[in-house]
């Protein structure tokens, strides 16, 4: 009966691609690495989609579980540097680029665990409960860890902002 109820987990491919890509980009950086991981995730998902069980979670949680392993594999290999891909959605390009670069810089300074949590929460758009299920942890523990990761990210951004403002200020004086 469960087999009959199985629905294609890749039915809404575009949305899932965007979510997986955002997760990968938060972990690895915006560009070819994130695209490689996303493609690899969907390749594996197509191969093993019969094993998808909706009772164990949503399609995006399942895909992000695969993406975690793909990203870990990629991080374990020596990587080439790629220029970040710029995609604008109509907002002020310069301001957006600066903000993105600052955010990317701050994210890069976070620990792997913090980056992973932020990527799952804000890139993959998973809830704390879904992340807890994926990582095999308690929901409360994940909420606390996310809160701390955000606090660390905020501090890093503040210090980055202070560092960019300092030379300009001293030059004026």
């Amino acid at each position: 009966m469960r087999g009959f109820l199985h629905r294609d987990p890749l039915a809404d491919a575009e949305t899932l691609i965007r979510q997986v890509y955002a997760y990968a980009a938060y972990r690895l950086g915006h560009g070819p690495d994130a695209e490689d991981v996303t493609s690899e995730v969907f390749e594996r998902a197509l191969r093993y989609r019969r094993s998808f069980d909706r009772s164990k979670g949503s399609p995006v949680a399942w895909l992000l579980g695969i993406a975690r392993r793909c990203a870990d594999d990629l991080l374990a290999r020596p990587r080439e540097y790629h220029e970040p891909v710029e995609t604008s959605d109509g907002r002020d390009l310069e301001e957006e680029t600066v903000r993105r670069m600052m955010l990317a810089g701050a994210l890069a300074q976070l620990s792997d665990r913090d980056r992973e949590l932020i990527a799952l929460r804000y890139g993959g758009d998973l809830t704390a409960a879904q992340i807890a299920e994926l990582l095999g942890a308690q929901t409360n523990a994940i909420e606390v860890a996310l809160h701390r990761a955000l606090a660390r990210l905020r501090r890093l951004l503040e210090s980055q902002e202070a560092a960019t403002l300092r030379p300009t200020g001293s030059g004026r004086l």
Binding site: R18, Y21, L157
Partner: protein, 162 residues
């Protein structure tokens, strides 16, 4: 970048990295194509399985064996029900060749031979199998109901996951 000036969570959500549009289109097309191909493959495999199942019980041989018997009669369904009918004009033309009485008798005899074969059309039995008509009808209705229930439950599961 204090909390009140900068909504970090909002920024992380709104400013999440977006893939290139052509990359999304290309990958989504590839995914859909492969899913479709595998579905067609699955359908063909099921059809093959059904043919093998029917063949293993001698269904194909049975169908092939009964075909010539049906063809031998060479009759339409109307002829099977009402017997052969010769239009009056033709009868008139044939008057010279054959007496009317004989033609009428021949038609009567032919109708008599066909009458038992036409009978099943009026009964509620299916040809060849002799199954009562309500049996496949009931099976069909049960299957349709089963499909509707499955579809409804699958939709509910799908919407519940999001």
């Amino acid at each position: 970048m204090k909390d009140e000036r900068f909504d970090l969570e909002g920024e992380l959500r709104e400013g999440r990295p977006r893939p290139r549009a052509e990359y999304v289109t290309s990958l989504a097309g590839d995914v859909r194509g492969r899913v479709r191909r595998s579905r067609i493959g699955m359908t063909l495999a099921l059809c093959g399985l059904m043919i093998v199942a029917v063949a293993s019980f001698g269904g194909i041989g049975y169908a092939a064996g009964t075909k010539p018997a049906v063809a031998k009669h060479d009759q339409s369904s109307a002829a099977a029900q009402y017997g052969s009918f010769t239009p009056k004009q033709t009868q008139a033309k044939q008057v010279k060749a054959k007496p009317v009485k004989q033609t009428h008798q021949a038609a009567k005899a032919e109708a008599a031979t066909l009458a038992p074969k036409a009978a099943p059309a009026h009964t509620s039995q299916l040809p060849f199998t002799g199954l009562a008509l309500w049996v496949p009808l009931a099976i069909g209705l049960v299957l349709i109901a089963f499909g509707v229930v499955l579809r409804t439950r699958a939709r509910r599961h799908g919407s519940g996951a999001h």
